[in-house]
């Protein structure tokens, strides 16, 4: 429990530190004089064409979904990896490897299918 509270304390400290930095910068900086042109979105100095509310390629959305799937699969491998040496030391290494092998086959099949279905093609 103790390291958790320490990490939380550090989190709050860094957040307050960052906010204090911004506040100090605000106080020390020159008086802000916003004007029409200055507060436009910066597009290489040309007149503003569009705001950020543009259409976003659906590709990024797909990448995020695939990331979640694969990341969860990789997280499942962590407990196995950390106890693999104990399994091997007790003579159950091949069993542990075999069980993980089935999971890895599903993982590889998923990756292969994903590449095959052109979900990862960027043009």
């Amino acid at each position: 429990m103790m390291p958790l509270f320490a990490a939380l304390a550090l989190l709050f400290f860094v957040a307050i530190f960052g906010a204090a930095l911004l506040l100090v910068a605000k106080l020390l900086s020159t008086r802000s004089k916003p004007s029409k042109v200055k507060s436009e979105a910066y597009e290489c100095g040309l007149p503003e064409q569009s705001t950020g509310n543009t259409k976003i390629p659906v590709k990024f959305y797909l990448t995020a979904i695939l990331f979640i799937l694969f990341d969860i699969e990789i997280i499942f491998m962590y407990p196995w990896a950390v106890s693999f040496r104990d399994f091997a030391a007790r003579g159950a290494g091949f069993y542990a490897f075999g069980v993980m092998g089935i999971f890895l086959l599903i993982f590889i099949f998923g990756l292969f299918w994903e590449v095959k279905s052109r979900a990862l093609e960027w043009e």
């Binding site: 390291p3 320490a6 990490a7 304390a9 550090l10 989190l11 400290f13 860094v14 960052g18 911004l22 100090v24 910068a25 605000k26 020390l28 900086s29 020159t30 802000s32 916003p34 507060s39 436009e40 979105a41 910066y42 597009e43 290489c44 064409q49 705001t51 950020g52 509310n53 543009t54 976003i56 390629p57 990024f60 990448t63 995020a64 990331f67 694969f70 990341d71 990789i74 997280i75 491998m77 962590y78 990896a81 950390v82 106890s83 693999f84 040496r85 091997a88 030391a89 290494g93 091949f94 490897f97 993980m100 890895l104 993982f107 990756l111 994903e114 590449v115 990862l120 960027w122 043009e123």
Partner: protein, 383 residues
């Protein structure tokens, strides 16, 4: 945190010092980056302000502080201002859990008429048993800062840069997470201190040649492929060249921090360099023996220093820890130099090449690394 006032004070101060160490290393790294780039390109670089241009960033910081603060017209204030703060958090939290030096054992001592100790201090802000899971979890938060910066500035180039950056970060996180699985199998633990304990054992054989070198049982000898994959993925995670697509100046103005200036920009820099530091520190902890000096165990260093310096047991423990801390930072600085070196050696990737490399090359190789490691551990019998 501790059992009495002394221990709690030391631990709190330690947390603050490690955070400030990370922040204070950033000006040095910026200087190394600018001078290093200059020398690689046969230029001189900043050399006017102070000796060798060392105080250049101090002058920059003063200028950063004076910059006008303003919010873009359509920007979302809360998100816009929260993004640079959030950029600091993952690096600071992750760096705090990495052991920077050997633990210190302080014997009982008398001070001001009161008896204190014995204490055991670790050279890290907090010690998680699941160190690597915690670091991976915390450093993934970096993607939020990128997206918030892009969305909050309400500029199409910022948004494009943020989307590219976050898609790239999460794609390479897969390869990064999977490349560490092999190392975790070899060490059999998530705990950084136990990993370094494993690496402090003597190396007895390599490629069939037998010898005996103390404290050289480094991860790189067990996981060469994993180390390469991990380091390559770190470049993409930190958005550094050759993977700096989010900041491709020719296409996007400056990526997700186009609308940021002054100190807010500096905070993004601190976040990025902090991320590089975490990546290098993990590389050192996993594959290059952490704070260990090759050929010398921690006890040997302690005894050698004891014969050189005739001081008490408590100061000697502190001096030993500081010496090992310097060794750790020399290793980390070497890998940070590699970041600069690669920047001027390799050209930038194209976006589809980048995604192909992450998903279709590095992910399968990392999987192969897991299977090879498992097979090697089973057949060569490493338990």
């Amino acid at each position: 945190m501790g059992h009495d006032v002394f221990e709690i004070t030391i631990n709190s101060v330690k947390m603050l010092v490690i955070f400030l160490l990370m922040v204070q290393l950033v000006p040095v790294l910026v200087w190394v980056e600018r001078r290093g780039s200059a020398f690689i390109q046969s230029r001189l670089g900043p050399n006017r302000v102070g000796p060798l241009g060392l105080t250049q960033l101090l002058a920059d910081a003063v200028k950063f502080l004076q910059k006008e603060e303003f919010l873009p017209e359509h920007g979302y204030g809360l998100i816009f201002y929260a993004a640079p703060i959030l950029a600091l958090i993952p690096a600071a939290l992750a760096f705090a859990s990495i052991p920077l030096s050997a633990p210190i054992h302080i014997n009982q001592f008398l001070w001001n008429g009161h008896s204190f100790g014995p204490y055991d201090f670790e050279f890290q802000s907090f010690h998680f048993g699941v160190g690597i899971v915690y670091v991976l979890g915390v450093s993934s938060l970096g993607a939020y800062s990128l997206l918030m910066a892009g969305w909050g500035s309400s500029n199409k180039y910022s948004l494009m840069g943020a989307l590219r950056a976050s898609a790239q970060t999460i794609s390479y996180e897969l390869a990064l997470g999977l490349s560490l699985v092999g190392a975790i199998m070899v060490f059999g633990t998530f705990d950084f201190s136990e990993m370094i304990h494993f690496q402090s054992q003597p190396l007895t054989s390599l490629l069939g040649v037998h010898f005996n070198i103390p404290a050289l049982n480094w991860g790189i000898f067990y996981q060469p492929l994993g180390a390469i994959l991990y380091f390559a993925a770190t470049f993409a995670e930190t958005n550094r060249l050759p993977f700096d697509l989010p900041e491709a100046e020719g296409e996007l103005v400056a990526g997700y921090h186009t609308e940021y200036g002054g100190l807010k920009m500096l905070m993004f820099y601190i976040g990025e360099y902090g991320h590089m530091m975490v990546g290098s520190a993990l590389m050192v902890t996993f594959y290059f023996g952490g704070y260990l000096i090759p050929g010398m165990t921690v006890e040997q260093v302690h005894n050698l220093l004891g014969t050189w310096l005739h001081i008490g047991a408590n100061p000697l423990a502190i001096v030993t820890a500081l010496v090992l801390h310097v060794v750790f930072f020399i290793k980390v600085l070497f890998f940070l130099w590699v970041f600069v070196w690669v920047r001027w050696t390799l050209p930038r990737f194209r976006y589809d090449q980048l995604m192909d490399l992450g998903w279709k090359t590095m992910l399968p190789w990392a999987l192969a690394n897991v299977i090879i490691t498992a097979g090697w551990m089973l057949f060569k019998g490493m338990h």
